[in-house]
Symmetry: C2
Subunit: 376 residues, 2 copies
């Protein structure tokens, strides 16, 4: 199993700082994972990603499975080679994309059959083959196949789905242990996923079923699927403490800086979200004093950097006026520049959060972030 050490507990909140040892290095938590959907963090050359130095990056099993395919990735020497990234990689199971992107989806107790959204080819995911795929990618952390429910959902459907996800998780673990005991050389971890929508008892039952097994970590699934922010915060506050405290906790698909800061206070260790990268492509920029959209006409003659407090190369070289022009002119360069800035913002936020925990002042840190949010 992957070693996970909690090095600091915040005295006022449930926030903790930790270190997760993976085959490609130590992930210092709490950490935010930039998303590299199809084998690259959109717009970031490998050396830019290295300079950003995220603790771990996320890639999508589903997208990579359809293209370039697991055979080709394995032949290439693994996903790290495709991405030209030598740090830790976590992949999701592909389940979420099957339920949101794929066509003609048919679910049964042994897995899910669907058509590729790219070429219509028939595909099948099972608890076993998604672990095998991720192992062949050579990832540091693999996720179990689960069924991600929409919000809101009927209780009967939620119960049935959770039972299936628990069964799949156990099967995935058996398979992962077989692979790790074999000759492939794969030594990555496997995280289980807690489901149960926003129902406390269902999440508790699910957690109890999963917690007794040797998963390397536990994710909170089924959130950040469209529910209001208050519902998300309540669900995180309810769900997180149920998870084993000695294992990393990963809140999938979250999110906004304020949501992350809140979740860290509940004891969450890992996050991923397309927000910093996708926002860059719509002109949305995160700054120490709030969010702005660079398309806004008021930036046309604003010669200040995006964020006075930022140390990123974009802020060192370009004014808001220049970035607005490049964005309006649809220059690819603007996507590169804004992505780099937004990722710097998220990664620095996590570094500051971690330092605050280590210094035992996370409560004050969270309060300061809240004040910024409320003032904008």
């Amino acid at each position: 199993m992957l070693e996970f050490r909690i090095t600091n507990d915040d005295p006022e909140t449930s926030a903790r700082a930790g270190e997760l040892e993976t085959p490609h290095g130590i992930v210092r938590t709490p950490a935010f994972m930039p998303v590299g959907t199809a084998g690259t963090v959109k717009g970031m050359a490998a050396w830019e990603l290295e300079r950003l130095a995220p603790e771990m990056v996320l890639a999508n099993t589903y997208h990579l499975l359809l293209r370039p395919g697991v055979d080709r990735i394995e032949k290439m020497g693994g996903l790290h080679r495709l991405m030209a990234w030598q740090g830790p990689i976590l992949t999701d199971s592909g389940g979420y994309q099957v339920f949101s992107l794929a066509a003609r989806r048919e679910l049964d107790d042994d897995g899910v059959t669907f058509r590729s959204h790219l070429d219509g080819s028939a595909q099948r995911l099972t608890p076993e083959n998604v672990v095998e795929t991720q192992a062949r990618y050579g990832v540091d952390v693999a996720m179990v196949l689960d069924e991600c429910l929409p919000y809101p959902v009927e209780m009967a459907a939620a119960r049935e789905s959770v039972a299936r996800s628990i069964d799949w998780a156990r099967r995935a673990l058996v398979h992962a242990e077989q692979i790790r005991a074999g000759s492939t050389g794969w030594r990555g971890g496997l995280f289980a996923i807690q489901q149960g929508s926003v129902d406390k008892e269902l999440r508790r039952e699910c957690t109890n079923e999963l917690a007794g097994h040797d998963f390397d970590g536990f994710a909170i699934g089924g959130l950040a699927v469209g529910e209001p922010s208050e519902v998300l915060h309540e669900a995180v506050a309810m769900a997180t403490p149920m998870l084993p405290s000695d294992r990393p906790r990963y809140l999938m698909g979250v999110g906004y800086p304020s949501d992350i800061i809140q979740a860290v206070a509940c004891g969450v260790d890992l996050f991923d979200c397309v927000l910093p990268t996708r926002s860059a492509r719509t002109g949305k920029v995160f700054t120490a004093t709030g969010e702005i959209n660079i398309k806004n006409a008021r930036f046309a003659d604003d010669f200040a950097p995006l964020d006075e407090a930022c140390s990123c190369p974009t802020c060192a070289a370009y004014s808001r006026a220049a970035l607005r022009h490049l964005f309006i002119a649809k220059e690819v360069t603007s996507v590169v520049l804004l992505t780099l800035h937004n990722l710097t913002f998220f990664l620095n936020l996590m570094r500051e959060a971690r330092e605050a925990i280590m210094a035992g002042r996370y409560g004050r840190f969270r309060q300061r972030i809240d004040e910024i949010r409320n003032s904008t």
Copy 2:
């Protein structure tokens, strides 16, 4: 006037190595200028461009005039600030884009009136105002407004057009000298443009009319507009020796590596072309052993770098298989990576050409490049 020194003449060919002093530094020639149409070399953050270290970059007066506009660029502190590039910049006059992109174009003896292809707004270029615009951009080298004729063209039309271009060039020079003598601080150079289609006498007459004036350099215009490669080579061989040998010679819009190598042998010093950057966006890659298209299925399992002989960061980090995947998946990152490689190829080619001239072995260098071309 800008100082231009020829430091080496090749003994076998008419190739020469030189140094052009501009307000933003020395341009070592022969040199290839990457094209930064709307204020950025597409996909290249400022620090990537700095690492590539081109001697000079080109930007388009027309595009920048329409957006973000000369007032805004001037207010920003000039085009160098917009581009976040502190090296030399040359801008074209905008004439070429007016004749190729703008709508409802009306030419008269004092200039050209047209509608913006972006918003339909009425615009007018005159010999004087294009110099003024480029001076307000703060460029190192400005170009005179000229009329770029299509190929082929009727002789009568060509004669009339050349007479107009000569008149405009003289008016531009008078205006540039007024600006340089004034208080704006602009000290950039002004290049005239030789026209005359593929007619030797007309190009000679045009050159004779221009050469007696204090232009900082001379461009060969009206080529690379769709004529066959042999016609281009013949025209360059015919046109270049007419131009004053003590001033930089600039072959506009050229081109393919083999065209450049040929033109350098005729005594051309400066080049610009969208080829390395535009090609990157269609998957076309330049290598020491010829051109390839990364989309090609044969690269799907090719784990070699794009070019074994290349020192660029793309070739250091990514395999052809990885780059093909990223390109097919329409990842912006692939545009960045291929652009960086292609520009490295062009800039290294020019560095090697210059070294060959300085070592008095340009003839052999050209022969080697020709052999590569003929073998692919």
